[in-house]
Each structure stands twice: as C-alpha cells, then as structure tokens.
C-alpha cells in the first residue's frame, strides 16, 4: 500500500467516523424528572365525575376553540374522541356499577413517543410535565402515528395545520402560575392538580381508605412508562374505554436498540466493504 492509498483509506475511514458521530442519535432521556423539577399532572377520579362537561367549556374558552353546548346530552350517545377543536372530551360508559363518566385527553406521558419520534423537536416534554408543540413542525404526523392514546391530532382542514391537543394549559396558565382551566372549573373536584408524586400518594390514599369504592389500580402510573394524567375508577378500566394492553415499557425504548446500532454500522460497514473490495482485486494476468 503506497502513501496515497493509505491516505485515501484513512480519509474514507475518518469521514465515516465523523458522519457516524454526527448522524448517530443521542441518548434518550430516561429520567422521569428533568433537572430536579417534578412533573405536574392531573389525577382524574372517575367516581366523582358527574358528566357536567364544565371542563370541556373551560378548555374551549381558554384556547379560543368552538364553545360546546354543555346542556346537550345527546353527545353521550356515542363514544367521542378528541378532535382538533375538542381537546378534552367527557364520555359516558355503561358499566357493571352503573353509568360512569370519564374525561379523555392527552395523557402527557413521562417518556412520550410523540416527543422522541419528532425529528425537529417540535413536540416537547416540558420540565413542568406538559407535552407541547412548536411552530417548526413539518406536519409529518409521526407523533400521531406513534401515540398509543390517539391524542396527537393534526388539523386536517387548514393550509397551515398545527398539532392540536391538551397542553395542560402550559402556555396560557401554567407559565403564569395558575392551574389548568379544567381543574379549576370542575365542580366536584374530580380533577386534581399537583406533582405526579403527590397525585400518586393521594390516589393510593383514596384506594386504601375506600377499598370497596375503587379498583386497586391507578391508570397511568405505569402505563407506557407512566403518564402525567392518571385515573382512578370503580370499575375495571377496559369498561371505560381504556386500553389495558399497553404494557409498562416506555415506547421510545423500543427503538433505542436500533438507534444504538447506527453508529456501529456507520463505522464498521465502510471498513468491511473497503476490505472486501481490496480482497477481491485481481492480479494482472
């Protein structure tokens, strides 16, 4: 091997390593708590919900969404899903223990799939706990595709669509030190706002105190690695339209294995290919 060849090979190798370094993804943030601050969240006690839909109204007023007619009971006939203009939705369920109302909205996962799948970091898990959205979004809908709760929704009928979902009032109220509008509006304290740790303690306390009233499980404590919005219920969660097959692993962990392999392949593959190329070189006849 002469000098020029050596330098050439070295150059290709170095280029590979540099690119590997640049293109290799960084580590996922595996901690539930960022920089010492605790995540805030909402505990929803479905045994206390009376289906008044005050939360829907408060949400719409805070974010200038179309005002819902909360006197109209016909909306309960069908299980509704959140849309780009309705970020929090009260549904009615027929269960073993009679009629139960449950409010559905973005769960603000601790390690959210939408956040880690976003290629421009438009979806962001704030230090305070809410998952928010930014204008640099491309609208690729990767977040919507990955969301296990179907809550990241891109406005369909807009030439400049945004991701619309519950932001836990982060920009409108939390930054001013106020609590989310839905929690404030709830007349029965079915919604409780606090740090995630406090909410879990409170939820456990209620279960211990009234063991017959609740199923002994907090939905969102461990689902997909834990969420900032959590639920208490008198009936098994499947009866309230919740998915109970989500598992306890956070979804971003599912693709970390692949991401770790990327820099390795980026460095080893070119070297291997160059080696094979040299090895197959024919001598002059």
């Amino acid at each position: 091997m002469d000098r020029r060849k050596f330098l050439k090979s070295l150059g290709i190798g170095m280029a590979g390593m540099t690119c590997g370094g640049i293109l290799a993804p960084g580590r996922l943030n595996a901690k539930g708590v960022v920089e010492g601050k605790e995540f805030l969240g909402i505990l929803i006690d479905t045994t206390r919900c009376i289906g008044c839909r005050s939360c829907e109204l408060a949400c719409a007023e805070t974010y200038d969404l179309p005002i819902p007619d909360i006197e109209d009971d016909s909306v309960f006939e069908k299980e509704r899903r959140t849309t780009e203009t309705q970020w929090t939705i009260v549904n009615r369920y027929k269960t073993d223990r009679g009629t139960v109302y449950a409010v559905k909205r973005c769960m603000h996962c601790n390690q959210a799939a939408c956040v880690s799948s976003c290629l421009v970091k438009a979806m962001k898990k704030r230090q305070e706990g809410p998952v928010t959205w930014g204008e640099n979004c491309m609208g690729c809908k990767m977040c919507a595709f990955s969301c296990p709760f179907d809550k990241a929704i891109l406005e369909a009928h807009s030439p400049s669509p945004r991701i619309r979902k519950c932001f836990l009032c982060w920009d409108k109220r939390l930054v001013k030190g106020e609590i989310p509008a839905c929690v404030e509006a709830c007349p029965t304290e079915a919604l409780l706002f606090g740090t995630r740790r406090e909410l879990i303690e409170e939820a456990r306390g209620r279960i211990y105190q009234y063991p017959d009233r609740y199923v002994h499980n907090i939905y969102g404590e461990t689902e997909v690695g834990g969420t900032s919005v959590m639920y208490l219920s008198a009936v098994p969660f499947e009866q309230l339209g919740f998915r109970t097959d989500l598992g306890t692993t956070s979804l971003p962990e599912l693709s970390t294995g692949f991401l770790y392999a990327v820099p390795i392949i980026f460095v080893l593959w070119p070297a291997f290919l160059l080696g094979v190329h040299r090895a197959t070189q024919k001598e002059e006849d």
């Binding site: 290629l119 421009v120 970091k121 809908k141 919507a144 595709f145 669509p161 979804l251 599912l254 392949i265």
Partner: protein
C-alpha cells in the same frame, strides 16, 4: 447514431443550449397505449398536487381519525424505497464483489434507484402538513437526534447524492464532458461504499420507524426484529423490481441493446432469481422464528391471521418456490411471475404496517380507505418516475454502450490503478 455526441470538447454556451433544447424534444412514438393512459393521470395529478400544497391536506385526503398515514407513506415511500433496494444490492455485487456478470444492468438499476428516491422520498412532501418546513431537520431548526425519522430523512438526502454520483458518469458522457467524467468516475467507489452503508441503515430504519407504535400494530406483525425484516425484504424486493423492470425495458428499449447484453441477459435473470430465492428463504426463516418465539400461532386462525398467511405464504413462500423452479428449469417466464408476486407481497407488507394491520381493532366503517385523489396522486408519482426514466434512457448510455472515449478512459484508469498497486 447521434452526431451531437461527437461534439468537440470546447463548445460555446450557444451550442450547449441548442443541444439541450434538441434533447428536450420527445423521441419515439407519442401515441403509445402507455402514454394515452398515463398522460391524463399525470396532468390531473399535477393539478391536484398544486391544489393540495396550497389548500392543505384535508382537501384531498380521506378523513379517517386515528389513521395519520395513508398510501403516500405506505405505498409511495415505504414500498418505493424497498423497490429501490436493487441499486445498492447490485452496486455491492458489481463494485465490491467485482462480479462482471451483472455489469450490463448496473446503470439502469442505479438510475432506477436514484429516480425512485427522488420521486418516492419526494412523495413525503405530499404528506407533510407543513411541507415548507421540510428543510428544518436539515438546516438545524432543531435537530431531533432521538428520532428514527431524523436519521431516515438525512439518509434519504445523502443517499440521493451518492446515487447521483454513481450515475453521473453517464451524464458527463451525454454532455461530452471528458475531463469531468474522469473526475466523477473516481468518486464511484466512495459513493458505492457510502451508499451501501446508508441503505443498510435506512432500509432497516423505515422498519424501526413503526416500532414505537407497538400498541397499534397487530401482534403477528410486531416484533423486535422489524428493522431486520425490513432490511432483508428490501433486498429481495429490490431484486424483484430489477427483474420486473428489465422485463419491460428490454422490450421498450430493445433497439439499443448490444448483442453482448442480449446474450448474457438470461443468465443475469437466472442469477438474480437464485439470489432472490436465497434471500427470501432467510426472510421466511426469520418470519417463522418470530412467529414461534412470539407464541402467536393461535392468532393465525383469525381473520387477521388469514391476511397474514396471504402475505407470508401466498406472496412470499410461493414466489420463493417459483424463483427456485424458474432457476432450475431456466424458465424466465416463471421467474417473471415470481417477481410480480414477490413485489405484491412487499406492497402488502409495507401497507400492513402503515394502515392495514395498524389499528386492526378499528371496524371497517371507520378505517382508512384512500380517496380517489390520493390514488391519482400516488399514480402520478409512479408515472413521473417512469417518464423521466424513459427520457434519460433514450438519451444517455444506460442500456446502450457508452461512447468509445469513455470506454477507453475506463480501461486506462483500471490499468493505472493496477500499476499503482503492483
């Protein structure tokens, strides 16, 4: 054949412009059945694309809450990239393993791969709600380095450049740029090595993309091995595309084929069929392993199970057997049927991950079914690819022999390389 090609090295700008204008004019018959079908679809599709880019996604896309991706991602992007896999597989065989046998089809395959990335990766733009922000992950308006999609986006861009470099000598020959061709030719090996590395990563990356949606993907399709399965199926999908494309091209562009090409073409197809069968066997083995390991065999007796068997047995195992038989009996016809079946299998496989086996529990009435506009636009992308491919093949040395000076240049280059080594 074409006097223009023999133009001297030094030309004025005016000559150059006249040359380009002359080349832009269509060649061959205009009213062919293919043109009569594709031209109106292209015209309508282009109007729809402009309309959609101005007025937003909701104006053309079927409304199905919970199904964010449709055929543009499932068919155009995912399938398009898998079918473009032939380019990196063949560059590996020809430039790394130095198999001269497949040299005659290498340029057509690279060109096809390059155009596939331009058009099918370009199809992402159609599906972006805020498409003007597509440059953000590239210019650093936040680098989402944790995202698999970030990796895929960068790889698409870099791979397009690598593919262009691999094909660029043909451009230089067309324009008669001898010195530039020599420089471009020297980039080929680096571009090939870089291209194969990128392909390995983003073919599997497209699989890793859907992994975070585990709760939404039917257990028969979800496995930790999705990236490996995507990588392996991209190999036989790509080779099947090469066989299929060759079938059509050898007829349409028959007038430019050299006698050498004609003589060796059957052997090339037989070799590809054998490779395909082997790769498909690996894929089926992995599929079986995943099925047994996941203990999902009981799900096979459900409607989704039958759909799974259609994909794995009907459109993977059967073409695998057909490839083997075609190879054994030297029967090109059987191999072509196998290629078409294998391609159908890839289409169904990719669409399964994006909208068919995705949220399988949603009843049919609420499922995503593409609108006619989406279908027209998806076809527009395919036809645009074919039109540009045809335009280039008619003008550049893709199937035909490169000009004599280029052959001489390569021969001298190889000789020099040997002298340096020895």
């Amino acid at each position: 054949m074409r006097g223009k090609q023999a133009s001297p090295e030094k030309r004025t700008l005016k000559d150059f412009i006249t040359f380009i204008i002359a080349e832009l004019k269509p060649r061959g018959k205009i009213f062919t059945p293919f043109n009569i079908i594709s031209a109106p679809i292209l015209a309508l599709g282009i109007i729809l694309i402009i309309y959609r880019l101005i007025y937003g996604l909701g104006t053309v896309v079927a409304e199905a809450p919970g199904f964010p991706w449709g055929i543009w991602i499932g068919f155009n992007v995912m399938v398009g990239v898998a079918f473009a896999g032939g380019a990196y597989v063949l560059t590996f065989v020809v430039y790394i393993l130095r198999s001269e046998k497949y040299h005659p089809i290498i340029r057509a395959t690279i060109l096809n791969g390059f155009l596939a990335y331009v058009f099918y990766a370009g199809a992402i733009l159609l599906d972006l709600g805020r498409w003007w922000n597509i440059v953000n992950p590239l210019i650093g308006n936040k680098f989402g380095v944790n995202s698999v999609l970030f990796l895929v986006a960068w790889h698409f861009l870099l791979y397009m450049i690598a593919e262009f470099l691999e094909f660029s000598p043909a451009f230089a020959e067309w324009l008669g740029l001898k010195r530039i061709r020599k420089i471009l030719r020297s980039f080929t090996l680096a571009a090939v090595i870089f291209g194969i590395t990128l392909s390995t990563l983003h073919q599997s990356g497209l699989g890793a993309l859907v992994m975070m949606a585990r709760p939404n993907i039917h257990p028969l399709w979800y496995t930790e091995f999705i990236p490996v399965l995507f990588f392996v199926s991209g190999i036989f999908g790509g080779i099947s595309m090469v066989i299929f494309e060759g079938t059509i091209s050898t007829r349409v562009f028959g007038y430019q084929l050299t006698t050498d090409f004609r003589r060796s073409y059957d052997d090339i197809v037989l070799g590809l069929a054998k490779t395909c069968a082997a790769v498909m066997f690996v894929y089926l083995f992995l599929k079986a392993l995943v099925l047994i390991h996941g203990a999902h065999a009981s799900l096979l007796a459900t409607p989704m199970g039958y759909w799974y068997l259609t994909e794995v047995v009907g459109l993977t195992l059967i073409p695998c057997i057909l490839y083997l038989r075609g190879f054994r009996d030297r029967n090109i016809k059987v191999i072509r049927i196998a290629a078409i079946l294998a391609m159908a299998g890839i289409i169904i496989n990719r669409c399964n991950y994006v909208f068919i086996a995705y949220k399988w529990f949603v009843p049919l009435s609420e499922r995503y079914i593409p609108s006619w506009q989406e279908v027209v636009m998806a076809l527009t992308i395919v036809f645009a690819h074919i039109w540009v491919f045809r335009w280039i093949v008619h003008r550049m040395a893709v199937y035909r022999k490169p000009p004599a000076w280029a052959v001489e240049q390569d021969r001298r280059g190889e000789k020099k390389a040997l002298e340096v080594t020895l």
